[in-house]
């Protein structure tokens, strides 16, 4: 097995797929890796019941000339190569150029009851439903912020869930003004209209957010703060997501400069998507949240660039810039209400890996000091959830993460194969 690629692409969502296909079209030897068993990323995640839309299907299926490296997760970085864990063992993949297309994750904010079984992220529950987790007939409250709530509602409804309401924290004026601006992006306006039609009959409330979830063994009802007072809604599932934040852990480990001008860092790139590290490019949500269209264009742009075709990359600048403006619009109209900062009380768990409550963080102004004293962010997710939430809540910025990017076998870190179960038995 040859382990060198001219272009190695990390993440097989829309940006990574476009990057891999574009680079391969120039004749480059391309590897595309993802921790998931199938390409598509979050937005085009394989659905066990429903086929993907046609253009998504085309993008996901067209891996001609690309080495598709399924269930490969990047563990650590070495010089011009990545240490990767596979179900079979560990590999070292070297590259001429690297494209980071690690996408984004959901922003989750702590509130009383958010750790009850039955409470998930909005995108999280959408992904579970696509993977076949049964939601049919269950009453679902969807809350948080941004267009993702509608997409989640659409998927859940298709899988037979009873969506009892969608609660958007942005106020009605902001959402209306956002909708009006959509006319500048006709494809998106069309998509949004389709979604609204399919979701007709489901209450979509603005200026509303979940204050508290109640239940004994799992969530049974939620208190929702609305412009008209607190309303209690019965449900079996609660899906709450406050938008997306860029995944920058791999870029940081590679030494790429991050842009810290917003609360959540994003990978810093030049106009042609070059990071501060030679031969490393980044595309899509990891460079700032702007949606699917940007991811596809930037993926192609980075693919051209990484394969050495600068002019072809440059030709995509104008459409990319136009679509990037959509990201700014999104951020402006769905800015989070400061009342969300006050939802967690002293007893609310904030670090779910290490069971750290909000009250234990009183007095700390630095993530590392808090971590050393309370273990907050010391667990398996290395503060991806709590560190990001605490940054959003204005407590302190998330501290840098350490290798491995995700938990990995010790054998992988040592560059070895795992022990066969026979050997393991003898050793224990």
């Amino acid at each position: 097995m040859r382990d060198h690629y001219d272009v190695l692409v990390i993440g097989a969502g829309p940006a990574g797929l476009a990057a891999a296909q574009t680079a391969a079209s120039h004749g480059a030897r391309v590897g595309l890796l993802d921790a998931q068993p199938r390409p598509g990323g979050q937005v085009w995640r394989h659905d066990v019941q429903h086929p993907l839309p046609r253009d998504a299907r085309n993008a996901v299926d067209d891996l001609h000339g690309v080495d598709w490296l399924a269930r490969h997760s990047v563990v650590a970085t070495e010089s011009s190569s990545l240490r990767v864990e596979t179900p079979q063992g560990s590999r070292l993949l070297s590259y001429g150029a690297l494209v980071i297309a690690t996408g984004a994750r959901e922003l989750l904010l702590p509130f009383p009851g958010w750790t009850l079984p039955g409470v998930t992220g909005a995108g999280g529950l959408q992904a579970l439903a696509k993977q076949g987790w049964p939601v049919a007939g269950r009453r679902v409250v969807i809350a948080g912020s941004g267009p993702l709530l509608l997409a989640a509602a659409d998927t859940l409804r298709k899988h037979g869930a009873q969506v009892v309401g969608i609660y958007e924290q942005a106020n009605a004026g902001n959402v209306r003004s956002f909708a009006a601006q959509l006319r500048h992006w006709p494809a998106r306006a069309w998509q949004a209209a389709g979604l609204r039609l399919r979701l007709a009959g489901i209450p979509y409330r603005f200026g509303s957010f979940v204050r508290k979830a109640h239940g004994d063994d799992c969530v049974q009802r939620v208190d929702i703060d609305t412009p008209h007072g607190v309303q209690t809604v019965a449900c079996d599932l609660l899906a709450v997501g406050y938008g997306l934040v860029p995944n920058t852990e791999l870029a940081a480990l590679l030494g790429c400069a991050l842009d810290h001008s917003d609360i959540h860092p994003r990978v810093q790139v030049d106009a042609l998507l070059r990071t501060s590290v030679a031969n490393v490019y980044a595309a899509g949500e990891s460079c700032g949240i702007a949606g699917l269209a940007v991811a596809r264009i930037e993926g192609a742009l980075a693919g051209h660039r990484a394969a050495g075709h600068v002019d072809a990359a440059r030709a995509l600048l104008a459409p990319r810039d136009r679509e990037r403006r959509f990201g700014a619009l999104l951020a402006r109209h769905f800015a989070l209400d400061s009342r969300l900062h006050k939802l967690a009380d002293d007893l609310t768990l904030v670090c779910r890996c290490e069971d750290v409550r909000m009250g234990e963080l009183t007095g700390f102004t630095d993530a590392r000091a808090a971590k050393l004293a309370t273990r907050c962010g010391m667990g398996a997710c290395q503060g991806r959830i709590c560190g990001t939430a605490l940054a959003e809540l204005g407590r302190f910025p998330r501290s840098g993460s350490r290798p491995p990017i995700f938990p990995a076998r010790l054998a992988t870190l040592a560059g070895l194969s795992p022990l066969s179960s026979d050997d393991a038995q003898r050793g224990s």
Binding site: P404, R409, L416, L419
Partner: protein, 369 residues
């Protein structure tokens, strides 16, 4: 603009485990104490220490200090924040030669009043079934324990604060006659104790100090996977040898059920980056003794720097040629074990009393030859 300097009986610079212990011991005697620490409490070498309270017997002076300290650590056994876990130390012998050498160590430890016992192979595997087959036996030091150093440091600082000590979250810019100037030009007046570990040369350039890099790996939770702090009997060769880089089998069960894996030593690595090659060497060493480790999930790898003096002993005492300047730094890999004893010894010296153990081997003046 000149501001009247605040005056203290002792100004401790650095709030790692050693500085924190000194501030605690001084404030316990009613001294008015200032602490200076710009970073998190216990955020330097203390945060990269394994927290193993261990007596090393290869240097009599180091053993005397460790023994003195280990007794003081007993008062932390019930402190929740210390995460004190008396798992005992199990030194592993690969062959009969190492096992035979262990009996000399047992005798030396016994002479210092520390209980240590030989284990034959059967007893070794009864205690630690995860060890690789074919080992000769080992040496068990049952009363030794592990703690969580950053929270101990924080607890010591809080204890000092509760007695009136003041914490300045600033950097010490320069030592001055009878005091120190901070990076915001605040002047503090009084005797100064420098406990800044690897950063010692910034304030006391005449005392040589090298940073010896180490790597640590921590796993997910596997309660009961191993039960004792495990070390190879050849550990001292790595710890006290002068090789530019070395690794040793040094694996610890945390009270959380996590496994903490050390240890590596490098002299000429100055950046804090994780070195894949060193991690690989260190892990291979641990797999050679506990093969089942291979399949455990690692959560995090990080590095730290041990403050290392030319002869491996800490500087504890008066700064040569200076008035009212003291130093407690350079504990290398034994800073957690010996912090409490070092602090008592320092306060005795500063107060003009005779310390409980002979301070001569640690006198900083040994470097002013």
């Amino acid at each position: 603009m000149t501001v009247a300097a605040a005056t203290f009986d002792l100004i401790v610079i650095g709030a790692g485990i050693v500085g924190a212990a000194c501030a605690d011991a001084a404030s316990a005697e009613g001294m008015r104490v200032a602490m200076i620490e710009p970073g998190p409490i216990g955020g330097g070498a203390t945060a990269a220490a394994m927290g193993h309270l261990v007596a090393m017997d290869d240097d009599p002076a180091e053993l005397a200090l460790a023994r003195y300290s280990l007794r003081l650590w007993e008062s932390f056994a019930d402190l929740k924040e210390a995460e004190f876990s008396r798992c005992g130390t199990l030194w592993v012998a690969r062959n009969d030669h190492e096992l035979a050498a262990a009996s000399q160590r047992i005798a030396r430890l016994a002479a210092a009043g520390i209980d240590a016992r030989p284990l034959d192979a059967a007893a070794l595997y009864e205690r630690e079934p995860a060890l690789v087959p074919g080992l000769a036996g080992g040496m068990l030091v049952p009363r030794e324990a592990v703690v969580y150093p950053p929270r101990v440091a924080q607890n010591l600082v809080q204890r000092a604060q509760s007695r009136g000590a003041r914490l300045y979250a600033r950097r010490a810019q320069a030592l001055q006659r009878h005091g120190v100037r901070l990076d915001d030009d605040t002047l503090l007046s009084g005797p100064v104790l420098v406990a800044t570990g690897c950063a010692l040369p910034a304030l006391l350039p005449a005392l040589p100090m090298r940073a010896r890099k180490g790597h640590l790996v921590i796993t997910d939770r596997y309660p009961g996977f191993i039960r004792h702090q495990l070390l190879e009997l050849g550990y001292a060769d790595s710890a006290h040898g002068d090789a530019d880089s070395s690794v040793a089998f040094n694996v610890q069960p945390r009270p959380t059920g996590q496994i903490l894996i050390g240890s590596s030593r490098e002299f000429s690595a100055n950046d804090a980056d994780v070195s894949p090659a060193m991690v690989q060497r260190m892990l291979e060493r641990s797999f050679a003794f506990v093969p089942g480790l291979r399949n455990l999930q690692a959560l995090r790898v990080w590095t730290g720097f041990r403050p290392t003096t030319p002869d491996g002993r800490p500087y504890l005492g008066a700064v040569p040629g200076a008035l009212d300047q003291w130093v407690a730094a350079g504990h290398e890999g034994l800073g957690v074990t010996t912090a409490l004893g070092s602090a008592k010894l320092m306060v005795d010296l500063i107060q003009g009393r005779e310390p409980a153990i002979d301070p001569a081997p640690y006198a900083p003046s040994r470097m002013a030859a």
